[in-house]
């Protein structure tokens, strides 16, 4: 119980930190970028939304910094992020919720696939240390993880879209198609997701393999594994229930950091494939100097990562009885 409470506390502190960064960055940066942005949109915005934006970025306001800060925290917690300049007059929240499902689907599915595959490969690699499996797959994927995500995406487009013509070059579904829940449309979405998803999986899998393999090698030297062997337990039982279950724990606690890394790579992959998720949206916002949208996307990406980490904490509680102890 204490473990869960501590993790919840961490969740709140990190979210607060991200909001605080969001609040102070535009105010601290030299050259006052927010003022320049607002000046450019003077003609296009109505008086009321201009005023709201000025308040949000602390321009032309006689409120104290502290008052602005608390007003900002309140607005963020109640989901009031103002209007997007790129997609005017849409609200930022609406734009974000259009993009969010695409990224959650893409990054969520690929992270789970990469984690499971990477953990399995690392486990088997450590179990058959020095064998052909162990000397080919782990080094291969570790080298692949040194390549930039977006570059692997470019090469994938070159091979599978342009040369072979098997898969579409970009976007989330065939343009002009109505978004429906019919089988052909879902198949269309899957076909479009195939290359970006494959890119993320093969570049992110190396990290999981490396840590899992290392943990597993350490755990295999433990006395309880020797004991299990001496008892004559089956190899798969030792591998999964004895060694694997213990070796996976550090991997789970490293999940948060790795997820941040995967999300970072996914932003560029979305950009390369023009995939209509938050990463692509964020770069659009940057190009158009749409700071309200950019900042809100940053906040939502952080929030999504934090929620995923909470889920992983729950899994850790299931796998590791030590975290369940109340003392």
């Amino acid at each position: 119980m204490r473990y869960i409470l501590r993790r919840l506390g961490f969740f709140i502190v990190t979210l607060w930190a991200a909001m605080t960064v969001n609040f102070f960055l535009p105010r601290l940066m030299p050259g006052d970028p927010a003022m320049a942005m607002i000046a450019r949109f003077h003609g296009r915005l109505s008086g009321q939304s201009l005023h709201a934006m000025e308040a949000a970025f602390g321009v032309n306001t006689n409120q104290s910094l502290i008052a602005q800060y608390f007003a900002y925290l309140g607005d963020s917690l109640t989901g009031q992020f103002g209007r997007s300049l790129t997609f005017f007059p849409d609200t930022v929240s609406h734009v974000v919720f259009m993009a969010l499902p695409w990224t959650l689907g893409l990054v969520g599915v690929t992270t789970v696939i990469a984690f499971i595959l990477g953990t399995l490969i690392g486990m088997i690699g450590a179990w058959t240390r020095g064998g052909w499996f162990d000397s080919v797959l782990p080094p291969l994927f570790i080298i692949l993880s040194a390549f930039p995500y977006f570059w692997i995406g470019l090469v994938a487009i070159l091979i599978f879209s342009i040369s072979l013509g098997w898969l579409p070059t970009g976007f989330g579904y065939t343009n002009g198609e109505a978004v429906t829940f019919t089988l052909p449309f879902i198949w269309d979405v899957v076909r479009h997701a195939f290359l970006p998803a494959g890119t993320i999986v093969i570049t992110s899998i190396g990290g999981w393999i490396l840590t899992m393999r290392n943990n597993m090698i350490m755990v295999l030297n433990e006395d309880y594994v020797r004991m299990a062997r001496a008892k004559g337990l089956s190899a798969s039982r030792i591998m999964f229930d004895y060694a694997g279950r213990n070796a996976i724990l550090p991997n789970l606690s490293g999940f948060g950091m790795s997820l941040g890394f995967v999300v970072s790579g996914a932003i560029l992959v979305e950009y390369v494939f023009s995939y209509p998720g938050v990463g692509y949206m964020m770069l659009q916002a940057v190009l158009n100097e749409d700071f309200p949208l950019m900042q809100t996307l940053f906040l939502f990406i952080t929030l999504a990562v934090l929620i995923a980490i909470l889920v992983v904490d729950g899994v850790t509680v299931l796998l590791d009885p030590r975290t369940r102890r109340s003392s």
Partner: protein, 310 residues
């Protein structure tokens, strides 16, 4: 065994020299480290003397645009009629400088925060650790984008500052753990009892014992810097007039090099980034094995060649 020999006051070389010679031996004894070092040396040569390998201005638009490989242009030309090979060679310097400087500064920041947290303990440790964990979890690249979008200068100084600010936390956490494990060793207790000052204990007793971890941290931070800087330049948040692999990719993407039939324009700089990133990653991977003997690859029949065991 040492009891046989009379205790001789051996001439102690400074810690740095000892560290470096161990490092050299370690690189030669591990195949991954050797490959990594060779790749790194190739990049260093390109960065140091690009004018000897590809003379002239790499941005000069002297050739027919959009050509494939030929005797004049080994890797073809860009849509602007620039030589891709020359751009590739000249691009190494930028990536290498960013990698080394950002890697070093991140390591220094990690060391300051990690060692302070581990050595001071108590409230200071609680606060610093919390800060480290928060930075570890906030997704770095979106934050990098936000920072770069606001600062707008696009120069290497800005990129390095942003990379250091977002890249120190992983190392700080590892170094703190190492300090905690060292804290109650006898040689530190002895130093404290001798009445050494904290500052001297940290620089003369703790840091020399963390050299391998510091090196590993530097390598990891450099890989992060290479990939993130390339990403930033690729989306146009760097200096788009610089000679760098990321900038090459930016122009290739903007001119749809893949669709236009000059895929080498996009492939070559990516390979450069991967070579440099791979060099650091291989060295790092090898160091993991060297500093943690349990992970050392099992070597058979090697011992007999090495002569009689002691």
């Amino acid at each position: 065994m040492s009891a046989v020999l009379p205790e001789r006051p051996a001439k102690r070389r400074p810690a740095i020299v000892r560290g470096l010679s161990t490092l050299g031996q370690a690189i030669l004894s591990n195949r991954k480290a050797t490959v990594g070092a060779v790749l790194l040396i190739i990049c260093i040569v390109m960065a140091a003397v690009p004018n000897l390998i590809a003379p002239g201005d790499p941005n000069a638009e002297n050739f027919m645009p959009g050509q494939g490989p030929s005797a004049d242009n080994w890797l073809g030309t860009t849509s602007y009629g620039q030589d891709i090979f020359a751009q590739f060679v000249w691009g190494a310097r930028d990536s290498l400088i960013i990698a080394v400087v950002a890697g070093l500064l991140s390591t220094v920041l990690s060391a300051i925060i990690g060692v302070a947290a581990g050595y001071l303990g108590g409230m200071a440790d609680g606060l610093l650790s919390m800060m480290t964990d928060v930075f570890l979890v906030i997704p770095a690249f979106p934050l990098v984008i936000v920072l770069a979008a606001y600062s707008k200068s696009g120069g290497n100084g800005m990129i390095i500052a942003v990379l250091v600010l977002t890249g120190w936390s992983y190392g700080a956490r590892q170094l703190r753990a190492q300090v905690l494990s060292l804290r109650h060793r006898e040689f530190l207790t002895a130093a404290r009892l001798r009445g050494e000052r904290s500052w001297r204990i940290i620089t003369h007793e703790i840091l020399p014992n963390m050299i391998s971890l510091l090196v590993a941290n530097f390598l990891g931070a450099s890989v992060y810097a290479i990939l993130t800087a390339a990403g930033l330049q690729f989306i146009g948040l760097g200096n788009i007039n610089a000679n760098s692999w990321g900038t090459m990719l930016y122009w290739a993407q903007n001119n749809e090099a893949l669709q236009a039939g000059i895929p080498l324009w996009a492939i070559v700089p990516g390979l450069g980034i991967a070579t440099l990133g791979g060099a650091f990653a291989l060295l790092n991977y090898a160091f993991d094995e060297i500093s943690n003997p349990v992970l050392k690859p099992a070597r058979r029949k090697k011992r007999s060649k090495r002569g009689a065991p002691s």
